[in-house]
Symmetry: D2
Subunit: 390 residues, 4 copies
């Protein structure tokens, strides 16, 4: 299998380079009968879009064109091809890196793998974060389809550099972080994050951060022993994101320092059903969803492109050299990364829900379609700007 | 795809339950011409075997039978089926959990997914760590095949509970940890780990821990953008292990707290070739191996089976109840987990090496076979007991 | 993907060589709750077994051992490993072919692909028809699971050499052909086939033949546009059988000589439902099942192993030579091939039925299990020896 | 796996409906360094294009746009997305079939599968032969890449209705059939085919036919036992084509009537190398290529869309009705089918060549690229109009 497809039944294939004509995705395995239009795609795309306050200066309208798979406002079961043209491209900024591979970047590994003469250095080519447009576009369909089981996914920025949100968060606030320029889930932390981002910009530096995702109402019983455990597929999905360097779910790495008698989540009756006391395992046990909310985190390294000069080698002379990466870059990829982690989570869940027969693989009937549409609208409404005093 | 296969070209399918007649694996996609015999499999299996000091009391000889794919001491290109019979099984210990799902275990999720009446509760059935026998058996072939590129994988226990090895480790010592009953890479930390394990055993409790893997001489250029990045496939592989709750590579979660100017690994000339200064990214950049040693870690939660009584629900009455898990269990699955993390790492690397044409997909010639055999013997010799004073 | 697995969700992996210790299969993706025991497997295996009258003299009991995936008489959702030991093996008969590749055989292509020194020449190794034991064993599970939709598959030998059955056949008689030593669906044609087989045996020659399969009650709507059409997946499945050289469905190659106005199957009301007048397209339109019986045919070449001496090259000298293939071989592989074509058809249908959600992917409830068991017994009863005067 | 992708390593995903905005394909797994431009794609597309003499009246320019994966005239290893806009669409012709499913068409099966309300009836939607544009576009890349091993694929129309070419054909003439409006490989048979096509057009009827493919210089040793035999993958590929109803290779169905002593292809020394006397098995033995030319055939049924009125059911009333299919249709899909069978053959071969390491999976060096380009130009030149007197 070549590497540009993801998923088993709900399967996306992305294409496109940062400075090529377009990026996009083909989404196959979408059941017929799902209400879908361009605005649904646009809605999710708008939250990863560069050009918003405080992130990359590149200004892309990111208007998706749907090329196939929709008829009379509903999916037909045929693959859905989505195209987003690249418009705001300034390749000249990249002439220097043609000879000076950037520290922390995929430049040199791409050269090692594909050969120097086949390396599309413009804007990072295929390794650019712009590639994630296809993922997020596809995730709009995944998220909408997950309304079938009333499953909702929301993410926020848990920490940025050394600033970490340590209070508990409400799911509704996490939804609202979509409108925060730093994906913060409350105004206090938003202010702190913004300050740090400004500092980074001023200093020509960048920060790492941690994205955290919550999933409400995940269907229980998802995950296929023994290799396609839901935790394994989530890990792969999320670690495939540019700049992702760590993954954990539930208490994650903290569990490695704990004792079984503290860590084990005891089984209780909750709302008249079997449930778990503390959800220490983040909704996943034995690699299978247990019905508790899924909680997971992804560590992002700091943006590799920084203005501060760094050592590299000039490939023409093989001499030591310095590079100061100009271009227009996010001071913290983790911010925009939240959207992408959400997206990858949705792709895994919808794929497993179909594999397990929880969401139909072939068609959705009219009644179900109406319920999905209703829930989708409620979800969009629930995503609204954070209020000042919460 | 059902969930019991792993890998794209070098592909394993495991089968078997803890208390069924046997466990095993079919390994497909092994090129013809690789020297292989039962002892090669046995060698790797011996390091995950229960019955060794301080881990699970279950005493399995774990003698593999090779059923196919070998002729005259070499692989033929046909699938290799390996069978390990289950001998030392005491199912009676599991009668209680038939009605009392264990906290932290897959019991209840399996029931949710497959139905109560289809649940093989004996020893955890398919969710038992015994399933990993097939993985480790397969990894012997993967590790041997990786000798083609002189790539060697070694793992040790980085931390157990709150005890963490904070000195630098040498690759040779990590290899020697194979013979340590707690997978320690030096005698000092071994003693501390042993003490903690004894404490856990006495108290009927268990501890979490972190396994760390180093890969020497990984071929550069492995990893397929954009979803089958090497970091993504490693994450999936490792998070598919029972009790794995977190994954990171390079500096991992620490990077989330750092600034780009600290975190970025500068490019230098090293031994006359392009290289990286600090290997902060653990041998992987842009999801592609860069030739530096691969470094990764897996967080294991504490063994869920503990003697200390815990709350659960009796499924017959749906009343609150207590369970004290008897059976014979490791006080820290992380110890034995090291072997399995090594195994999964080897499966990913060999699969990608074949996908990228670095290791031949169809056949290995006699000359190459000899070199492989030589390196394999050297590797086995390098794995020797830790010395007292190091 | 290596080549020893078949199917997407219901997926089998076979292993084993003709003269190795065993052959077998791992079947993954079987939902939990299907009643299954050794006798179910044995039933289907008995109809492909060598040692029966008129086919290969090799006498294998073909007793399957189930190693995993069953608990209390039902499947658990875990992979089912089935093992059949090779007992009646006389490798000495194959010493000659070690140097003289047999015309019409896989010997030379295997040598070309895997290297001479890695070639398991004993009994054809992996290329032996014995490999199909794993397929037929797996098909017992597939066929039983298809009872969920009351779908029944039956095959017979349509022609042998120039002798062709040209009368219409009843589905019940096709089922009965299982007990015919030449897979004939009536006594008249049986006698003619037997005579031809005897002639071939006497002359040391062999004959080709055509297997024909009928599927009753196939679920409508199976098949995934545009590459995984049901006709495409059936073609692959069946053309993967040793000695298969042609595939067609419905009127097949005859359609190439027809006009649209003759060939098109008109749409009518049948039993109160939409249906087709003549089933010229053998139950498949647009690559999707339409609910009419599926009809397909597979052309088998004559057994390549014949006693009549044939030209080959002696690999030691590279000189012209002759080979007379001794061993114990079927005078017409098409006879035993019928079982295997049935088997491959069942694997495709059950896989697509699960993919399309017509058969559940995860579990079957008790009620459904009972109905399946009932239908299975009725099916086994319907397979009975042909009567003399029909 | 959803059904719109094909191939394991060289993998295409097609999208688009007959009357939607566009059709196209994403091709993944193309090694870096292959010289490629729009004209290469256009060249192959031009031979399947409707609007040419005697085939469908629909006039599409079929101009491909390459959206990704190319940089400086060479592939980069990234997926190549190709888009072809639909321009000449007259959906009004299809209003009638909205209620009257066409005999021989996918209309009713699509309705059964996806639901009436999700059925894109315009021009057959996804089931239209227009879908094959993506396949043929992708095949240009496959064919060019096969120049690495100097492997050339050519097809012609072997028979149309009852008219069959029974003389031997030269490979060069088959190449030239590309320019024949009826894919004939000599002028005599061309005239006969044309006459028949005209007759069909006049009568409002259609004819079936047989496409035959020859592959020169196939790499020996391709094909993966036991399920991914080259014959199995070719069968699937070709039977996935709309209107394909039968597949055979070598002597195919004729072998079923033969004796082993006639059918077996004896092994000889040919040009100083091991070879086969008669190539009765069409270049494939044991499911593996043996180096002899591959020969295969695909039976196409007559075009289902005919003007002659046929019985159907009016879905509004469920009463019997008649339909005369207007639209603009080929009088014999087999003619245009030749291009598509060629295309599918090329996709299988290139995929297996990469899987077997015969063509590199990651990159092609400059020297190899030059040789490929040279051979490609020679191939294009060899495809020229048939001469009058041959």
């Amino acid at each position: 299998m070549p590497g540009n497809s993801f998923g088993n039944i709900f399967r996306i294939t992305t294409f496109g380079e940062s400075h090529g004509p377009a990026v996009g995705a083909v989404i196959d395995g979408v059941p017929a009968g799902l209400p879908l239009d361009k605005e649904d795609i646009q809605f999710e795309l708008s939250f990863r879009r560069p050009g918003r306050f405080l992130v990359s200066g590149r200004r892309e309208k990111d208007e998706p064109e749907i090329l196939s798979g929709i008829f009379n406002g509903k999916t037909t079961g045929a693959p859905i091809a989505i195209l987003v043209r690249n418009n705001d491209v300034i390749s000249s900024l990249y002439e220097e890196i043609k000879y000076k591979p950037r520290p922390g970047h995929a430049d040199l590994p791409y050269i090692m793998r594909y050969g120097y003469e086949n390396w599309d250095y413009r804007g990072g080519g295929r390794s650019s974060a712009r590639e994630t447009v296809g993922r997020v576009a596809a995730s709009a369909i995944a998220k909408k389809l997950l309304m079938f089981t009333n499953t909702i996914i929301a993410g926020h920025l848990k920490s940025l550099g050394n600033i970490e949100l340590d209070t508990e968060v409400k799911f509704d606030d996490i939804l609202c972080s979509k409108y925060s320029p730093v994906r913060a889930s409350n105004k206090d932390i938003e202010n702190k994050f913004i300050e740090l981002v400004k500092k980074a910009t001023t200093e020509g530096d960048s920060y790492g951060g941690i994205a955290e995702i919550f999933v409400e109402n995940p269907p229980p019983g998802l995950g296929e022993p023994v290799f396609d455990k839901i935790k394994a597929d989530l890990a792969k999905a999320i670690m495939s994101i540019p700049a992702a360097v760590g993954f954990e779910y539930g208490l994650g790495f903290k569990l490695a320092k704990m004792r079984g008698s503290e860590a084990n989540d005891e089984i209780i009756i909750k709302n008249g059903k079997l449930g778990w006391k503390n959800n220490t395992s983040g909704g996943i046990l034995g690699g299978i969803t247990n019905g508790e909310p899924i909680i997971l985190r992804c560590a992002f390294k700091p943006t590799s492109s920084i203005r501060i000069p760094q050592e590299t080698i000039d490939l023409r002379t093989m001499n030591e050299s310095k590079i100061s990466v100009l271009g227009r870059h996010d001071p913290a990829v983790a911010i925009r990364g939240v959207s992408v982690v959400e997206a990858m989570t949705s792709l895994v869940l919808v794929d497993h829900a179909i594999r397990s027969g929880v969401i139909p693989s072939v068609k959705i009937d009219n009644k179900e379609a109406e319920i999905i549409q209703e829930r989708w609208l409620r979800y969009k409404e629930a995503c609204k700007p954070l209020e000042e005093s919460q």
